[in-house]
Amino acid sequence: MRHDIVRIAVVVAGLICAAGGLALGGATWSGQQPYTLAVPEHITGTGAEQARSGSLDMPLDHDTPCTITVSVAKAGDEVLASAGDTLVTSYKLTGAALQNGGDGDWVDSSTFLTRNYSVPETGPPDGITIWVRAAAGSGRANNAGTYSASVILTASW
């Protein structure tokens, strides 16, 4: 009798841990990985009117409140660059699960690295969307080609 009760308790705990495929109390990014965001429309001129943007949904599975921070593997990775030439790069992070819904406007790339986004609630997978805007410089034509950048979003709890 005593062994049966202990066994039941262990099973209950196991079911709690297995719910949502999470480790006990934590968060994981889901969806199609690796995450790649290709700005769909090309830049074909100079100046701010040539800004192009794109977005990527990054579902976050979590059963505990967490905080999302932004970082880069090496300095400057946050700026869209190609062979020494750069585009004016801005970001936004949005989603209903973020406190206050996240960013209401574009954030320049260096400021984006200082942002903390609180995910106060727990629950089903939350849709987090990262947005990027690439703008041509003014005063000269950027080199033609593909520009790339990378950022790291880390959910901590």
Partner: protein
């Protein structure tokens, strides 16, 4: 003893240990080849003319030569060809009166003009189909100065009608 064990196991779920989950996002954006003028429709007006390097507002004699220049900026990330044309004749005109009009292109082109070329489509003239200019494109440059110089000469044997003489030139950048 048994109840204590159940309570301990169930309390593990809400007591999460600290941790983190990173996700790397790779982003790409493309810039196409293009060329565009910084100012789409610049103009040379009365205050831009010179006679022997002295600013003048108008002709005041027969056989007088006035010149003007316009520095234009071409933004380009590809080798471009400039082709001059005009929706009219490219000759300064007032009513039926004309001034002898010539042009030259200098600046960041591989072979700048060394002398003025008459407005016209004949061989050796400014609007001849063979008269094109190649921008001296260099990767990473992105900005090039193109100078359009115009020369107007009043008739040698008579005074031209007084008035504003007008014409237009189109420089088309192709790539």
């Amino acid at each position: 003893m048994v109840l204590t064990a159940v309570a301990v196991v169930l309390m593990l779920a809400p007591t999460a240990s600290a941790g983190s989950a990173p996700a790397s996002v790779t982003i790409t954006a493309a810039v196409d080849s293009f060329a565009e003028w910084a100012v789409a429709a610049p103009s040379i007006t009365a205050g831009d003319w010179f006679a022997d390097e002295i600013p003048v507002a108008s002709f005041s004699a027969v056989n007088q030569t006035l010149t003007a220049s316009l520095a234009m900026t071409l933004y380009a990330n590809v080798a471009a060809t400039l082709t001059p044309s005009s929706t009219g004749t490219g000759i300064l005109t007032y009513g039926t009166e004309t001034l002898s009009t010539s042009y030259m292109i200098t600046g960041n082109v591989t072979v700048p003009d060394s002398d003025y070329e008459l407005a016209g489509t004949g061989s050796g003239q400014f609007f001849a189909s063979a008269n094109t200019y190649t921008v001296t494109y260099a990767p990473g440059g992105g900005s090039y100065t193109i100078n359009l110089l115009v020369q107007a000469v009043s008739p040698a044997d008579r005074a031209p009608d007084a008035g504003d003489y007008i014409c237009n030139v189109t420089l088309t950048a192709s790539w």
